[in-house]
Symmetry: D2
Subunit: 188 residues, 4 copies
């Protein structure tokens, strides 16, 4: 079975979206890059100012309410459907619930061959990049750096602390290529 | 049956995304706003520089190649799946193929109650707004203003030439509310 | 004397920046478009979270502190210097202090031929456009619509309530052209 | 004399703007961050499509025409005036003309105490970051990496190849602090 879905999980400012764009550049086929930031943009603006939505606390904490969770669940089904309909998809997400977040994705993606990638970055380095980006709430990088990986099982982990996005992408692509190699021959 | 999908079709700079944001503000439930611009952003950057992808000609023309069309088809299935999974979705699209584009959406959305809205804007006015936005290729507004509506059947048409986005959104919401009213009682 | 500076003053979401971009498109010479939004972007991010900086209240009110005011004053001198050095400049500003704000600009721009334009928009319409834009704090349009014009003297006023940005720009350009016509001949 | 101007010169994707934002965060006083990207945004859109303006070639080369150069010269005077009027300014520029570009700034900034910083990044690494950013023309990073430093004299050079933006900013701030220390006592 050919892998047509890559999940990149990591904390804020760990470098996921940069890796996603590099993957799009280095992988031979066209892949869609979708992610949690796009979902938040698609939500009503009011979702960020009500308790039922999503709250970005001044200290970087994120609290997800029931209305956000409902739309998120439907969006997850939509992403899975894109893959089932033939798209190759790179998903960029932040597993605020750690292993529980992965299980929800596993249920939605059942039957699909998914390549799970943990994107790590030392907390202090991610915090510095958060400052350099200038458009993020300070504190998210630190508060998410560890918790998003708790109990999550990966096919591959990359660490952007000392490795460039493009190099991480090449590592992922190489592993994906070798795992995809036996496709149609000896299994997969 | 309650309508959980609104399709806004119109040419570039006709005001679709402004109406979508206003709809999110005036409708009582939370709706996701997704659209063709988001799909283009999700594609590889190379998609905009290869013949197989999407080409924005200097005169405002848009040519869609086979690789773009393949990902677009899968994305359409994904959007439909979000609605089937319970999300309310406002879709903002440009039917470059007119009636043919609508038919492709109808096939994907089969069984769903969809509210089709034509977003019109006089060609010269849309062209002026294109200049005012500053981030669009000149000529798209004019080249798309008419063709995207050819043969398309709507539940409602709005015209932003002399009507504000918020007022258009209120008109749509009112019609949606009244059509949804009999839900569970006398049909719908 | 040839006019090389146009000042557009109006409340948030009154359409200033759209007019500025249209002016750049319709005026025969190249003009720089600078404005208060650019100044805010150039400030440290912390400027928006300290009392000494600038505060955007949830109700749309804006309070400017001493540190912001100091940098703003220096920036104003810089804009004036660009014009004195030969640039044509369209300035997009929000005179929160009404006549007092204009006087401060007049002192900075002394000796320059400035074309002052009031950009008006009915409060309710500007508020609707604020919703449609989606990236502005709700309430700014209403709270600024009137106060920014109090006591301000203009060469020309335009109203975007029922007039497109491009048409406003053409009106400004026409007046500028006729006022510039006598340049070098009968005065100006 | 207290330094109130920092010039960051480096090729595209070398990390200048990230360092500028980090400097704004670590320096005790409020500094404005201005740069060549802001100037390009302030120019008419047509400036990027005419030979007299600025041309971004598909291979990453940049050609500056006479109209662009004229506005740029006036903008430089404006930036100098902001500093003379009391603002602290971090300038982010790309010296396409190497030493000649620096000389033009030196003429404009005469009499001011300027801290010149070279921002280096290995060509291949900058090229990778260009891919990861996704919004830059491929090739600019490589074509500019070396030429922008030719003949330029610096007070300090930083290299983002293996050093984070925040750490570079701290190094600059430390040097600035020690050079500023004798202010009012033994000169500077």
């Amino acid at each position: 079975m050919t892998t047509r879905m890559i999940v990149l999980n990591g904390g804020s400012s760990s470098g996921k979206s940069g890796i996603a764009r590099c993957l799009q550049a280095v992988l031979p086929d066209p892949w869609l890059a979708v992610g949690i930031d796009g979902l938040i943009d698609a939500m009503p603006a009011s979702m960020q100012t009500t308790a039922a939505g999503i709250e970005f606390a001044p200290d970087g904490g994120v609290i997800v309410g029931p209305e956000f969770a409902t739309l998120q669940a439907a969006w997850m089904e939509g992403v899975a459907a894109m893959v089932r309909a033939g798209a190759r998809v790179i998903l960029d997400d932040v597993f605020l619930g750690g292993a529980g977040s992965q299980q929800r994705w596993q249920q939605v993606l059942v039957g699909l061959d998914v390549f799970w990638v943990g994107v790590r970055c030392e907390s202090a380095v991610a915090a510095g990049r958060e400052v350099a980006r200038g458009d993020r709430i300070r504190g998210m990088a630190v508060s998410q750096a560890e918790i998003v990986h708790q109990g999550v099982v990966y096919d591959l982990e990359v660490d952007t602390t000392h490795t460039e996005s493009l190099e991480c992408a090449r590592t992922i692509a190489a592993r994906l290529g070798s795992s995809a190699a036996p496709d149609g021959s000896a299994g997969g």
